[in-house]
Amino acid sequence: MMPAVDASLRSDLLATSRPGGWEPVRVAAEARLAAQELPDASQEDWKYLDLSPLRKLSFRTAEVASPAPAASDIPGLVHPEMMATRQVFVNGFHAPHASCATGLSPGVRFFPISTASEACRLLGTLGEGAPDFFEDLNTARFTEGAVILVPQNVRVETPLHLLFLTQAQDGGTVPVVFPRVLVILDRGAELELVEEYHGEGTYLSCPVVEIRVAEGAILRHERIQRESLDAFHFGALRAEVGRGGQYHSRTVSLGGRISRQGPRVRLAEGAEASLDGLALLGDTQVADTHSFLHHAEPHGTSRQVHKCVVDGQARAIFNGQVRVAPGAQGTDAQQQSRNLLLSGQARVDTKPQLEIYADDVKCSHGAAVGQLDPDELFYLQSRGLRPEDARNLLTYGFAADLLARIPVASLRRALRHLVLARTQATSLGGLA
């Protein structure tokens, strides 16, 4: 029998209007959905992520928020650098009054997916591997999201901001949003993209991001998951990086009661990728990252640093799969999973997974789970910092280290402030 969550998640699929010419893709997703249920621990990929809280809820499609919240009301969400290059979505609907795209470089397109044309025929076709339950749900029923197109050899100076806000009233059924994003960088194009999620109350957010970075193009992608602490977030990302192209992403996960990131990146010959992650968890939060980096062709380079700071009874999961395909000689892949446990009940499950089918490669991985380094603590104490301040400062430093290279200054500052607050380091004053 189909679990209740499935029933309510599937129920109003046909009630919503569906944009675009993606019927074949949607029908295929629907067919797969019909044959599967909400994942449970019997599936290897979901072994550590307990979705039973979802089974107790019933869901509905989110409705237009009225009045729509203004992004300017929420601290740290307005970035002066991106005032004229942003698209804002509230409860899954495009919010034209909160958006502004007047600052785009010539030829660059950044628009709601509901107004997309055949230019978006790539949607649902990018990347490799079978979609999971939540990705199929998105494909079957997304109604809104964003498309970004950067033409050949255009280097976009101003970063783009993609903001998804969700506001849920507590009690009753739980609203669901399915943000959909398609990013196409033509040959030699260059772009910096900030993708941000924020919300209030209990809701389910299932975004899917598809990316094509063509030959020699460069995409820098900051992904900020600041969902409400009562929310559920299951995200999928698929990126294809062409010959000599570069894809650099950094995912910061702060919110969500249960959250999951599932980036899958395919590298062509000589392509480069970095796939960094930071999860800051407390209380009973659970955050899972299942990543797949595929060196499909020779001479690719990948770097992955995944950090988790886990407090309270929270739990972090990292499964980092790196595949070097047969013939992908000269691959250079490095992965590091570093985890800081701040309480006796916090937990981390980390699993690097290297699958190497070529012989002339340089691959390394490492995983560390631990407490703060006593030598570092003593060094700070020897400069007059109280033990508690020293601990908070080191915890902040461990996390903030990953933010240092975010090129958008206001975003970097906002995130440092959030990390300061989460590491109780605010009392130290003015560090950010």
């Binding site: 020897s382 400069r383 400062l393 461990f398 903030a400 003015g430």
Partner: protein, 254 residues
């Protein structure tokens, strides 16, 4: 200011200090010299409360107070500072933010006004001139990726910010070229005041040409074998350590 009586200490159960006696008064510069592995660094680290070392006997007072009653951070705020031989790297924490934090924690303890970021900016700009540090090092993470010499420069910068009454400098010259050593030595001299004291720990006498001690002690095997004035450092430069060790051994046999 600092009074050490029959101090013994061990690491992992192995005795390293075997009965140290030393008096340091305000205005004095002392040098502790000795061969490698003699216990010189241990003495410094024990004085600032490094957790790896266990004090097994003896007594140390600072301003008449039992030093071992004070946690390391309390000792620091009371005015004791150690410039380490191998300073730790702390990624993610900017050097400037850390320096301001350390300054403000001490100011708070002394009932002085704390400095806001703008005030501190002016303050620190003067201090980095003293150690000839490039401004870019303020924005970098604390010691991260610094060369050995840059770390030493940063240690003396911290000393300049905290203005400790008792500074213990462990192997300041290691990792420094001759010009950098002169710059940092001059900086240390400028920071010295009549109510301050210095304890220089060094293997090589070279640094003592710039920072000139009134008292020189030779430490070996966890004991001070010989104490003297600056002329002792000159003699050590000329003759090495062996003769002191032999003299002490002969003394023991008598």
């Amino acid at each position: 200011m600092l009074s050490i009586r029959n101090l013994t200490a061990s690491i992992n159960g192995t005795p390293v200090l075997k009965g140290i006696d030393l008096e340091i008064k305000a205005g004095e510069i002392h040098a502790i010299m000795g061969p490698n592995g003699s216990g010189k660094s241990t003495l410094g680290k024990v004085l600032v409360g490094h957790p790896s070392y266990e004090v097994t006997g003896g007594e140390v007072t600072f301003d008449g107070k039992n030093l071992f009653d004070l946690e390391p951070d309390v000792r620091a705020r009371a005015g004791i500072f150690m410039g380490f031989q191998h300073p730790i790297e702390v990624p993610g924490v900017s050097n400037a933010a850390f320096l301001r934090l350390a300054y403000n924690k001490k100011a708070e303890a002394e009932g002085r006004d704390e400095l806001d970021p703008l005030e501190f900016d002016d303050f620190i700009r003067e201090k980095i001139k003293l150690v000839a540090m490039k401004e870019e090092f303020l924005d970098r993470s604390l010691n991260e990726g610094f060369s050995g010499g840059e770390k030493k420069r940063n240690e003396i910068l911290q000393m300049a910010v905290l203005e400790p009454r008792l500074a213990i400098l462990d192997e300041l010259d290691s990792g420094l070229d001759i010009d950098a050593l002169r710059v940092l030595g001059d900086a240390v001299n400028k920071l010295m005041r009549p109510d301050h004291a210095l304890l220089i720990i060094t293997h090589f006498p070279r640094i003592l040409e710039t920072i000139q001690p009134q008292f020189v002690h030779v430490l070996s095997g966890g004991r001070i074998l010989k104490s003297g004035g600056p002329e002792l450092a000159v003699e050590l430069e000329e003759r090495g350590y062996d003769w002191v060790l032999e003299e002490a051994a002969a003394g023991d046999r008598r």
